[in-house]
Subunit: 318 residues, 2 copies
């Protein structure tokens, strides 16, 4: 079975770990969001790709969900001693090495997809990890601070401002001119199932879908497309998805997110049991829906969720 | 008193610490060698500038003579785990931060001289540290391995090959087109004394002198130019200066190094007491010479050496 998963960071990575356990024989291709990539200290940092790579490769800081286990912070301390910021983005020494290797390879002319493959040669994530695009796409958020509106990099909004200021728009700058990375459209066309994990529907999966060709390829793949709600009981399971949903005019409910993707894209949708009341609404919109536990408290829970998603896909197919 | 010192790495840095102690009121400008600069992991590394900066700024690894005190090596370990080399050049985590800041600033368009000034704003070395040039100069060594001759970067010859293979030539690639960094010629013209510390006469001081205009400015400054022999008893005090002296056809003796600089450049020369027999030969060549202890075993010894150099300069002036 060939499965394609569009993934953001922590939620996507933890779901993928469950999916690997649920379908150990499957050939999984992950299309990773790169809209939250950022240049820091002259280095190219790809938070979502790295979170998937570290999580599936056994190197992630488990409690934190991102970054490296057994991390130290000598480089960061020294940069601060030089007065060089930003200080709000926490890069550890081990993590720095990844960004140094990536930046060096990109400087030598390799596309991000080739760099990601090279990094994964070490981590052996057990999936094929592709960036959504080799072209630069940078998610900007139109925020309001002190009555003034200005566009900031997504990471500045998310990490520095902690999504605590009003956001009026989310723009994946560069997306309209970006091409899907080599292998992305081919993997979608060859997929038996396509899954949207409980990643952020706006700044993770939404950004991937903003790369011209990807949404169309998924809609035309002719295979079940199933998703898992990142909203449980009207609130994000983790992160601050509600803030960016509001910015794009979508309610923070499991049903609203399904409608946001739409029945033209989505065939099946899993909501949490607390949102069982939303099942009828989603199904009326033409999307098959089931209510199952959606809290990825551990690998076993993530595995059960992945199994439910695959079961729903088979229901859709039948 | 305004003193200009041409400096390489460890020997130059330790001498400078002595000079600051010997002449606490002096305004010292250091023209640093950049011929051994190297790009590693996509980062610009300036070993000699950093050795001077860390040593005078109190951050150096004292026993080693270069690199940072209290150093850790997480980044290096990770790079090795990615299979990314070279592994023969030991960069620590704290040191990496310096190279990251430097590379970022250079990428943003700042010349090396401005970058060095910015880094020194943190380290406060108590001297004005100037790179010899903002232009790229890279010392290559023509080595012979397995009967084949090939040019390698100086660091590869020095660190990886430990100067243990025959060297047939030393070429400061790019020097002929390089311009002295802003302030270098002005500092030389305004100097009361110019000092060559016991740095490598070929790959440190020789490279600085290879930048068009610097040698001429020193010769025409009309002030005492005094040097300290890096060769004691026919062997280098530290490092492997004898190897590169052989490559340029100069004997490894205190007198031969003085003759290599020449009386057109050098007015005074200090040799070690074990080389007292060379004093007459050096003086016959038109260079005033004294034999004094030249082992920089500690700060007190370096201070005494610096005092002897300044005393010799006054003798020359009189």
């Amino acid at each position: 079975m060939r499965i394609v998963v569009l993934a953001g960071g922590i939620g996507g990575a933890r779901f993928l770990r469950g999916l690997k356990a649920a379908a150990p024989e499957a050939e999984i291709t992950v299309v990773g969001n790169t809209g939250d990539d950022i240049h820091l200290f002259g280095l190219k940092v790809c938070p979502d790709l790295d979170t998937v790579m570290y999580t599936l490769g056994g190197g992630v800081h488990e409690e934190q969900g991102w970054g490296r286990a057994d991390e130290t912070f000598a480089v960061k301390e020294e940069l601060a001693a030089y007065g060089v910021g930003p200080e709000w983005f926490g890069l550890g020494d081990r993590d720095f090495a990844t960004h140094i290797v990536r930046t060096q390879m990109i400087g030598a002319g390799y596309p991000l997809s080739a760099v990601t493959e090279a990094l994964c040669a070490r981590w052996q994530p057990g999936v094929r990890l592709l960036p959504m695009s080799d072209d630069r796409v940078e998610t900007h958020v139109l925020v309001e601070t002190d009555g003034e509106r200005k566009a900031v990099h997504f990471q500045e909004y998310w990490v520095r401002l902690r999504a605590a200021v009003p956001a009026h728009a989310v723009v994946p700058v560069g997306a309209e001119a970006a091409k899907p990375a080599p292998g992305v459209l081919e993997a979608i066309a060859a997929a038996d199932v396509i899954v949207f994990p409980p990643s952020n529907p706006v700044v993770s999966i939404g950004t991937i879908l903003a790369v011209p060709g990807i949404r169309e390829a998924i809609a035309e793949a002719g295979v079940p497309v199933v998703g898992l709600s990142p909203i449980v009981g009207d609130a994000p399971v983790r992160g601050m998805a509600d803030k960016v949903l509001a910015a794009v005019g979508v309610e923070s409910t499991a049903a609203a997110v399904a409608a946001h993707y739409g029945s033209g894209l989505l065939d099946g949708w899993l909501v949490d049991t607390v949102d069982a009341g939303a099942v009828a609404e989603v199904e009326e919109a033409g999307i098959r829906c089931r209510a199952v536990p959606l809290l990825m408290s551990d690998l076993a829970a993530a595995t059960r969720m992945a199994r439910e998603a695959l079961t729903l896909a088979e229901e859709v197919r039948a």
